[in-house]
Amino acid sequence: MKTVKVYGPGCKRCETTEQMVKDAAAKLSVDVTVEKVTDQREIAMAGIMSTPGISIDGKLVHAGGLPDTAKLDEWLSA
């Protein structure tokens, strides 16, 4: 079970990113819980300066822009 956090104040790209994570997890049949973090303070504390950001099990893997689908698969199946 992986915990994926998607960081973003709620712009359209953040929502797309959340959906991309869910889709990738379903495709790879990886068990995940996706948590959305919208609080600016928490986003900043995670060390993210450009949103959307993604962390998996506490490790920051991506910040800024939509993630690459191939890379997303890689992070989720690692």
């Binding site: 973003g8 104040p9 712009c11 495709k27 790879l28 600016q40 303070r41 986003i43 900043a44 504390m45 995670a46 060390g47 993210i48 300066m49 450009s50 949103t51 490790k59 920051l60 893997v61 991506h62 910040a63 800024g64 822009g65 939509l66 191939a70 890379k71 698969d73 890689e74 199946s77």
Partner: protein, 352 residues
């Protein structure tokens, strides 16, 4: 596991040379289209039942010439900027700025503000990321002002629609205002006017992000994504801006323009700034209006002041920043930047 991952993505897409050839073909096609702009707009205007030199004819010809021209220019500028900016990131910029002495910090921050990719929706985490890493508040402001004010989209369109001289003047003064405004705010010791929670925060210790390795093809893809995203977002502002520009071009009499926005009336510069602040559009929407104003004989200083305040001081951005700055600090921010803009406006009206 490895075998499995490979099975999932058997096709990595096109070979590299396809991408390079595509970029070259795009460049050639772009040039071809760009050369057809005047014939196209004249041809299309002639199809309509209006006199070419009537007010309506002038306005329509302006609109039909500018819409494809601005969209073409935007595509090129956003693509090139997207590729160039892929070498920069807020994280790298923070690392560069936090190691610099104050004096060099301001101009450097302004320069990096132009090159670092960031959208206004993440300006709060970015602001906190900078301040908590020990970058002085003034230097952070230089960065935040320069980003929108001297952005490549505005400069590129100014170059394409109005000419290189005015684009160069705008670049020099936009850059100077960003640097000096940040410096002035740095001297005022404004740290105590940050929202309380920001001052208590120390995000500097947060774990960093591992650098993603990008190939040239990745960078080209980033450029293409940027074009799709930004054009999808700003096209409506472009059309509105050009429509306003077309109305000015076709209908506003020159004598009236000279009276309102000519260099004679001293109040025209502050009035332009006052009108510009609540106006929310981006550079892409503002520059066609600027083009029409200058064409009708508006004074350069007044027009520059209008354009700078529209682009650099926008209410929505202030509302976002309200989360980290107290009202007092926002007021200082507006006052300092507006002073720089006023000075630029008065200077150009006086010397030209």
């Amino acid at each position: 596991m490895t075998a499995e991952t490979q099975d999932i993505k058997p096709d990595q897409g096109h070979p590299d040379w396809h991408w390079y050839a595509g970029v070259a073909a795009f460049g050639a096609g772009w040039l071809l289209l760009y050369r057809q702009l005047i014939p196209f707009s004249e041809w299309a205007t002639a199809l309509l039942p209006v006199g070419r030199h009537s007010h309506t004819g002038e306005a329509i010809a302006f609109f039909l010439y500018d819409v494809p021209k601005v969209l073409l220019l935007l595509t090129l500028i956003v693509f090139v900027t997207g590729v160039l900016r892929s070498w920069f990131s807020p994280e790298k910029t923070r690392a560069i700025l936090s190691g610099k002495r104050e004096v060099m910090g301001y101009p450097l921050a302004a320069a990096l503000g132009v090159m670092t990719p960031f959208c206004s929706c993440s300006s709060v985490p970015l602001f906190i990321g900078f301040v908590s890493a020990g970058i002085p508040l003034g230097v952070t402001f230089s960065f935040l002002i320069a980003g929108p004010m001297v952005g490549p989209v505005g400069l590129g369109l100014l170059f394409g629609l109005v000419g290189w001289k005015i684009a160069a003047i705008y670049l020099v003064f936009g850059f100077t205002i960003s640097t000096l405004a940040g410096w002035a705010m740095g001297k005022m010791n404004l740290e105590r006017y940050l929202q309380d929670w920001v001052r208590e925060l120390n995000a500097g210790a947060a774990p960093g992000l591992e650098e993603e390795r990008l190939t040239m093809v990745d960078r080209i893809k980033i450029g293409i994504e940027q074009v799709a995203e930004i054009l999808g977002k700003v096209w409506i502002w472009v059309v509105i801006g050009i429509a306003i520009g077309a109305l000015i071009h076709g209908y506003v009499p020159e004598a009236m323009m000279l009276k309102i926005m000519g260099g004679e009336a001293w109040w025209s510069v502050p009035a332009a700034v006052a009108v510009g602040i609540p106006m929310y559009t981006n550079a892409a929407g503002a520059i066609p209006i600027v083009e029409a104003l200058l064409g009708k004989g508006a004074a350069l200083g007044t027009t520059l002041a209008f354009m700078m305040s529209v682009i650099a001081l926008s209410l929505p951005e202030m509302i976002i920043l309200k989360q980290v700055l107290t009202l007092r600090l926002i007021a200082v921010f507006i006052a300092v930047v507006a002073t720089g803009i006023l000075a630029t406006g008065f200077l150009f009206n006086a010397i030209l």
